[in-house]
Structures are given as structure tokens and as C-alpha cells.
């Protein structure tokens, strides 16, 4: 049965408390900061898409210069606070830490980054100011990581920025698409406000491209346009029964959870989650933490090919989620319009496909799970309809850009998930920086 309000207030609180608690105090942070070797041409920095000077910010913590440390982080990544909570660091900075080669625990870079950036946000240390007005206006579509990062760089150079955001809040997937035990809605709001504190950035909420305004309008009224609207709805399974009550999108599920509060989110007794990416993990673990009795994750390939990291998989396993590898949903069976069962095909691995991963092949055998809720987390689909309508060059909806972040339409730039189809927050932040740099060049500023 799908129902909300399954747990007590305390249970909700415990289940959604911070999964990676911060350092308790300065001494604790400094013990780890002092472990850092201060590598030259550091592998961790190379592992960071925004190239944060990690040895430097850690040394600044060790040397009692938290302000300097936070500045070092924000200089490269204005969402450094959020990234410290949501980055899959095991495959980025911490994965590259040289201590791994000694079979020692890597420096807890994310935790140290959180230590410095949280202090900066709490104390409202502002490190950046706007240069004199450049007399230029730029429109940005999407107030997610790419858009905010782009806006911040532009504002520093004196550009007036207007962001058009379709939701009620800024932050994009940081606010709406990530597990609540990683970042809280309050934190996301604080982070957006911290970024906006520089001034010169206006966000127009509940403004959706193609619905509330057009690309032509932006081109006409602004000196340049940056498209950072990310990707849209969850990929459809295209199987019979997909419309039955109880089949939901992972992104919608997480969105509601972030938007409406835990007790009001309905969850089934037995939930199947389709997919094995980060979003799938976030959906599965949160379904469990909302009180689902059983959660089963299904993936059509094996652990070798899974898109999530081992650390993420371990979170799901520790939460008690069951994993079935080599299983592909075939159809949903229901009664009275509601989900009752999920029939899956058993798969085996064939030859490597274009992604280099071995592609799954149907063995012809099936098995059936008794479930009352199915969460679809097999990736998200770009806004193909809208980009095609505006005659933007694209590949299956992913906007094509050149090395100057420019689309085929003059003065229109793009970046982030809208271009790459969906990567990490930190990749989007870097894309926003790159886009801003290209726009400044286009506008002949700096």
C-alpha cells in the first residue's frame, strides 16, 4: 500500500540527518589538515573539475586562516559549500589523493572544504565585489549550478545578470534533485543567497523557456544569453503499465520530498527502483528512509558497469536496499489502476557498445516482483523539443557548443547538463565559469 506519514517525527529526523557530519571542532579539522602532504601539482586539484587549489586551502586551515581557506575555495567554485556535501569525491579529489597509493585513508577533502565554507556562509564573509558597471546585460536560463556560477563570474565583471528560473527556488538539482541527507532545503536556499549577495544578479522565478518567454525575447533584450537549464523529465521506460498509479519519476519523487516535507511523501510497502546512477541511489535510500518496508534496485548490467560509485552503492546496501543485477523491466502489472507487480527480463552481457561498456542482452527468461511502487531513475532526458524548436544545433536534445561555449546562434551560449546530458554539480559549476569567460570575451569585457 502506498501511504505517507509512516514514521514518527523523530524517525524522520534521524533518517534524514546529515550523512557526512562536519568536524566537531577546530582540533579535529586540524588533525586532518595537518595530514595533508601539500603535494605539488596536486592530483586532488587535477581531480576537481573546478580545479580548486586543494593543498592551499587545507594548509590555510592548518595555519588558522579559515577566511583565506574559504576564499581559495570560492575563487574556483562559488558552490564550494554545496559541492563539499554532494560531490562524489571518491571518484574526484579524494579518489586522486596520494594517500590512496599508500593504502591509507585519503585526506577528507570534502569535510575540510565544508569546514571552511560553512564558516564563511555562517559568518557571511563576502569575498567578491562587482567591478564598475560594464553597461552590458546578460540573460541566463536556469538558476542551477551552471547558471549561478556563470552569473557570479559575470557580475564580478560588472555585468547585469537576469536569471530566468522555472521553479520557485534557485539551486537547480542541488535544491531539487539530491538526497535530503546530503543537503537540506535550508542549506540550498542559504547557498543561493550567499551567491546572490554580490549583487547585480536578479532571478525571475517561475519563468520557463518556451512557455513564459522565448529565446527571441532574450536575444532582443539582452547582450548575450546563456542556456543552463539542465535536463528535464526522467527517461521513460516505454513498457506496458507505465501509466499505472504508483509508477513515479525519481526526479519528481526527490523534488516532492525536498519541496513538501518528509511526512507528506507517499511511499509503497515494496518499492522497485529502476537504474543504478546517483539519482537511483538517492531515490532508493530515501524511499527506505521514508518507511518503505522493502526496496529493490534493478539494473540491466552488472556492478562493473554501474554509473554510481561504490560509496553510493554501499549507502544503499547499508540502508537495506536489495540489488538485482542484470534485470530489465518488461512490463508493469496492476489491478484497479494500481501497480501490483513488475515483470523483469533476465539479462546477460554482450559485446561492448559505444560507451565501451558491455551491452545487456535479453536471455528470454523473466521473473516477477510483487511491488506497489516503481521509481524510474534510468536517467533524464534533455529538452529536445524546445532546443529543436529554437533551431539550436543538438544531439538528441543535448545542445552542441564549440570550444567557446557558443551555440550555433550568435550571442547564445550554453553549458552544464543541457549540453552534456547530465553530470555532477561540480561539472556544471565549471561549465558556468567557462561560459562566463566566453561571454565576457564576446562582450569585449576583461
Amino acid at each position: 500500500m502506498i501511504e505517507s506519514n509512516r514514521l514518527t517525527e523523530k524517525q524522520y529526523k534521524d533518517n534524514f540527518s546529515d550523512i557526512h557530519p562536519p568536524f566537531e571542532n577546530k582540533t579535529a579539522a586540524q588533525v586532518d589538515a595537518n595530514r595533508c602532504l601539500f603535494c605539488f601539482d596536486a592530483p586532488c586539484t587535477k581531480g576537481c573539475p573546478t580545479s580548486i587549489d586543494i593543498p592551499k586551502f587545507i594548509k590555510q586551515i592548518a595555519n588558522d586562516d579559515i577566511k583565506g581557506s574559504a576564499h581559495t575555495i570560492f575563487k574556483s567554485n562559488i558552490m564550494g559549500a554545496g559541492c563539499s556535501k554532494v560531490c562524489p569525491v571518491e571518484k574526484l579529489c579524494e579518489g586522486a589523493c596520494v594517500y590512496n597509493l599508500l593504502e591509507e585513508k585519503p585526506i577528507p577533502i570534502a569535510k575540510l572544504q565544508r569546514y571552511a565554507t560553512e564558516k564563511a556562509m555562517t559568518n557571511q564573509w563576502q569575498f567578491f565585489s562587482r567591478k564598475a558597471a560594464a553597461g552590458k546585460k546578460v540573460a541566463i536560463v536556469g538558476a542551477g549550478p551552471a547558471g549561478l556560477s556563470c552569473a557570479h563570474v559575470l557580475s564580478r565583471e560588472g555585468v547585469d545578470v537576469t536569471i530566468f528560473e522555472k521553479e520557485k527556488k534557485g539551486g537547480g538539482l542541488m535544491t531539487y534533485g539530491i538526497a535530503a541527507y546530503k543537503v537540506t532545503p535550508e542549506f540550498c536556499e542559504d547557498e543561493v543567497n550567499y551567491i546572490l549577495a554580490i549583487g547585480g544578479i536578479e532571478i525571475k522565478y517561475e519563468q520557463e523557456l518556451g512557455k513564459d518567454f522565448t529565446l527571441a525575447y532574450l536575444k532582443k533584450n539582452y547582450d548575450a544569453v546563456y542556456l543552463g537549464m539542465g535536463v528535464g523529465v526522467a527517461r521513460q521506460l516505454n513498457i506496458p503499465g507505465e501509466k499505472l498509479e504508483g509508477v513515479v519519476d525519481a526526479i519528481r519523487f526527490i523534488y516532492d520530498l525536498r519541496d513538501k516535507g518528509f511526512p507528506s511523501i507517499p511511499v509503497g510497502d515494496h518499492v522497485a527502483v529502476i537504474g543504478m546512477g546517483m539519482t537511483a541511489i538517492d531515490a532508493a535510500t530515501q524511499a527506505k528512509r521514508l518507511g518503505a518496508k522493502k526496496v529493490t534496485m534493478l539494473y540491466r548490467r552488472t556492478q562493473e558497469e554501474m554509473p554510481c560509485t561504490q560509496v553510493e552503492l554501499d549507502i544503499a546496501k547499508l540502508d537495506g536496499c536489495e540489488i538485482i543485477w542484470l534485470a530489465s523491466p518488461q512490463r508493469v502489472k496492476g489491478s484497479k489502476g494500481k501497480v501490483k507487480q513488475l515483470v523483469c527480463s533476465k539479462m546477460k552481457l554482450g559485446e561492448p557498445d559505444t560507451s565501451g561498456r558491455r551491452s545487456p542482452i535479453d536471455t528470454g527468461e523473466t521473473f516477477t516482483l510483487d511491488v506497489d511502487m516503481i521509481i524510474k531513475a534510468a536517467g533524464q532526458v534533455p529538452y529536445e523539443k524546445i532546443v529543436t524548436k529554437y533551431k539550436l544545433d543538438n544531439k538528441y536534445g543535448k545542445i552542441t557548443i564549440n570550444e567557446q561555449c557558443a551555440t550555433n546562434i550568435k550571442g547564445v551560449f550554453a553549458g552544464g547538463d543541457a549540453v552534456n546530458g547530465g553530470k555532477e554539480v561540480v561539472d556544471a559549476v565549471q561549465a558556468g565559469k567557462d561560459g562566463a569567460k566566453a561571454i565576457l570575451k564576446f562582450l569585449k569585457i576583461a
Binding site: 586540524q30 588533525v31 589538515a33 595537518n34 595530514r35 602532504l37 601539500f38 603535494c39 605539488f40 601539482d41 596536486a42 592530483p43 586532488c44 587535477k46 581531480g47 592548518a62 586522486a96 596520494v98 594517500y99 597509493l101 599508500l102
Partner: protein, 422 residues
């Protein structure tokens, strides 16, 4: 099992580890705890005219997250009444007759005061006396402590007074607040001291509080120069010790080594450079008396491994290994080698060599790991890369002699051999 018992001028102790004259040895309670823990002996905190201490008294230098790399104090000699000290010393000797009890002294600057003090102390049954010619603060303003040790003539005079009265062994403790400890050392040996001990603390300012701008230790908005000790001073102590161990006159008397001894390895190093035993303070003040267990066991295991049966088998064995620069072999050359199997690609060797040494490390960029190799022809064999490398045995220094024969600098010049051309 090796025999680690020590005989210093006839003062016997079950091991060569004594607690130095300092706060840990200023009363019976502490000393009994030390003996129970296993310390071989103590040098009782300096007795003299009664003084008054201030608050605070200590400060320290931390390094890279570690506490008390160096330790500083502005405490004076014992501030307890003399008769209580004497009574307690007697009781300690009675309770632990197998341990060494040496008493540190700093009498007022006249013959009678010294004679009187020595008499009283000898009456306790103490095994030896240590003359405090080293305390660098507080007492110097009164013409005592380092003020005596810094002037060979005054030191000589005081030791002569002492030797007139003393019937038990006398150890003279030297101050390092001089450019060389040898002149005072010679002078007190000439005056008849039975042994030397060194070093006392080094004058210092450990730091300044960046909020209040007052240096530490803090005493009502002010501070004074203090005496520095602990691990940070060990290299300085070893150098002074070596000069005493090499001097023709001072090497005739045994030396008790002091200065940052924190574990058995430090102790062995002091003994290899000529100390017959060692005195410890800072390490005990940081961790308590229990550290002596590890010191005894470590020393014993090392001696077994090296085949030494008694302390005398290795005391002084490294003294002649320290020579004059002019005697070093110029044909000796070694080159760093980076063991690629052990390298963790931190780049510390590279940046140290590139920025501050001889640009002898090649960098091959990689993502995320660069590869670092030595440019043999450019390496001068300075050791810097090996010293900064965080991985044990990753960088080794491989011998590549320039020529087989020994040639020193004097000979090199005589033969007109080539100098560097870069």
C-alpha cells in the same frame, strides 16, 4: 638480555635514565612516583636560597599539529623550604636505595654559602651533587646560574669552593648560552669537578599571542626570556656534547647528556656521542613517568641486536666520526634514486629540488599522477629530496664515487683539481 645498568662515577642506577633537575623532581611525591615507574635516578630540583615563582611558568612551540616540539620555562630553582627538601631527599633514598639521588645546587655567590649547603645535602645521604651553572633566567640577575657558567673564571672559582667541601661526586652542569661550552668546561675540570652535564636550557621567546600581542608565557600582560628545551634542542645539545667529548681536557671526565631526550633512540645517540648516561625532563612532563618503560626496553633490544652487552660497549663510539670539514672525502659522491614502485607522486621532491636546489628532478606530466625521475648528471647528492619524501625508502642515495681514492679539500687544492664550472 643486555645489561643496561649504569655506573656514573660510582653512582649506580639500574638504567642510565635519570630525571633532570626540574619540576618533576622537586618533591618526594613526584620522585617516589618516578622511582616506582622505573627511573634509574633523579637529580633533585635545584636547592639554594628560597625564591618565589610566578604564574604562568611554561610555554611551548607546536609543530605541524604536534604539541610541544619545544618547551620553555621561566620557573626558578626550588621555591620550597630547604629543610623540607632535605628531609624528603633522605626519605626517598631510604625507600629506593638502588636508585641514584643527585641533588642540584645553586648557592649564593660566596664560599660559605656553598660549603654550608653542601654539608646539609651530604647529610641526607645523597650520592652526588650537580652544580647549576646554567639556569638562564631569574637567577642570573642575582649573579647565579648561567651568569656563573658563562664566565670560565667565576665558574672555576665556585667549583674550587665546592671541591673544598664535597666528599661525594660533583657534576657541573653547563649552560649552552655561550658560543662554546668548552672554555667553561675546561675551566671547571681544571678546578676539579668530577663530571660534567649538559646542556641546560637555551634562552628563548617561544612566541607571541596574535590576539593580545603579548609574548608567552603570559604573566599579567608581560613576559620574560625563558629557558628552551625539549625535542627541538636535541641537535644543539648533541653538538655541544660532541665538542666536550672531543676536547682533550674535558673528555677526561664523564658526561651526563641532557637536551630533548625523549626516547631510547635519543638516549643512544647522546651516549654514542660521549654521554655516560642521560637526563630527561620535557618528555616526562608531556607524557608522565611511564615513558621510561619504553626507554629501557628499546635500549635493551637495540643493544641485543647490535651485540652490545654493557653501556660501556658503545658509549662514545660515534665521537670520532665527527671530523673537520677539511678532512671530508671530496671524491665521495652519491646520487638520489626514486623508487618508482614506492613513489606516490606527491611532487614534494620535485618542487624542493626545482625551487631551492639543483633542478635535478625530471617531471613528466600525467593525469592525475606525474612521474618524477632523477637527472643523474645534475644531482649533487644533497639529500634534500630524500628528506622531504613522505614515503620510507622511496628515495635512496646510491653511491657513485668520483674516484676510488680519498682526497680531502687541502689535497684537492694542492693538486690543482678542478672546481665547479657552473
Amino acid at each position: 638480555m643486555a645489561d643496561i645498568s649504569s655506573n656514573f662515577l660510582g653512582i649506580k642506577s639500574p638504567n642510565p635514565f635519570w630525571l633532570a633537575s626540574a619540576p618533576p623532581t622537586d618533591k618526594k611525591y613526584n620522585v617516589l612516583r618516578a622511582f616506582e615507574a622505573g627511573w634509574g635516578g633523579v637529580v633533585w630540583k635545584t636547592l639554594g636560597s628560597q625564591v618565589k615563582n610566578v604564574s604562568s611558568r611554561y610555554s611551548a612551540v607546536d609543530y605541524h599539529g604536534g604539541r610541544v616540539m619545544g618547551f620553555n620555562n621561566i620557573e626558578l630553582i626550588s621555591d620550597r623550604p630547604l629543610d623540607i627538601n632535605l628531609k624528603e631527599i633522605k626519605e626517598c633514598i631510604k625507600l629506593f636505595p638502588d636508585r641514584a639521588m643527585v641533588v642540584s645546587l645553586m648557592a649564593d655567590n660566596n664560599r660559605e654559602s656553598w660549603h654550608e649547603l653542601i654539608k646539609k645535602v651530604e647529610d641526607t645521604g645523597a650520592h652526588g651533587l650537580e652544580l647549576n651553572f646554567g639556569c638562564p633566567h631569574g637567577m642570573t640577575e642575582r649573579g647565579m646560574g648561567a651568569a656563573v657558567g658563562q664566565d670560565p673564571e667565576i665558574a672555576c672559582m665556585v667549583v674550587e669552593w665546592v671541591m673544598e667541601a664535597a666528599t661525594i661526586p660533583v657534576i657541573t652542569k653547563l649552560t649552552p648560552n655561550v658560543h662554546s661550552v668548552v672554555p667553561t668546561g675546561r675551566s671547571v675540570v681544571k678546578a676539579g669537578t668530577n663530571a660534567l652535564s649538559l646542556i641546560n636550557t637555551i634562552q628563548s621567546v617561544t612566541g607571541v599571542d596574535l590576539d593580545t600581542l603579548v609574548p608567552n608565557p603570559y604573566v599579567a600582560g608581560k613576559s620574560v626570556f625563558g629557558g628552551y628545551c625539549g625535542p627541538a634542542v636535541k641537535p644543539i645539545a648533541l653538538k655541544f656534547l660532541t665538542t666536550i667529548a672531543q676536547d682533550e681536557m674535558t673528555k677526561k671526565v664523564p658526561v651526563s647528556g641532557i637536551g630533548g631526550v625523549s626516547n631510547w633512540k635519543d638516549a643512544v645517540e647522546f651516549m654514542l656521542l660521549g654521554a655516560s648516561n642521560v637526563q630527561v625532563c620535557t618528555a616526562a612532563m608531556k607524557y608522565g613517568f611511564r615513558i621510561v618503560e619504553d626507554m629501557c626496553e628499546g635500549l635493551n633490544n637495540w643493544m641485543d641486536e647490535k651485540g652490545f652487552f654493557t653501556l660501556d660497549d658503545f658509549i662514545g663510539k660515534s665521537v670520532d666520526k665527527i671530523t673537520h670539514w677539511e678532512d671530508l672525502d671530496i671524491n665521495y659522491h652519491h646520487i638520489a634514486k626514486i623508487n618508482q614502485d614506492k613513489c606516490i607522486h606527491c611532487g614534494l621532491c620535485y618542487i624542493a629540488c626545482e625551487d631551492t636546489s639543483h633542478q635535478s628532478i625530471r617531471i613528466e606530466k600525467g593525469n592525475p599522477y606525474n612521474t618524477y625521475t632523477i637527472i643523474d648528471s645534475a644531482c649533487v647528492g644533497c639529500n634534500l629530496c630524500q628528506l622531504v619524501c613522505p614515503v620510507d625508502q622511496c628515495i635512496t642515495m646510491e653511491e657513485h664515487r668520483v674516484a676510488p681514492e680519498y682526497v680531502n679539500w687541502i689535497e684537492w687544492q694542492k693538486r690543482g683539481l678542478p672546481l665547479n664550472d657552473h
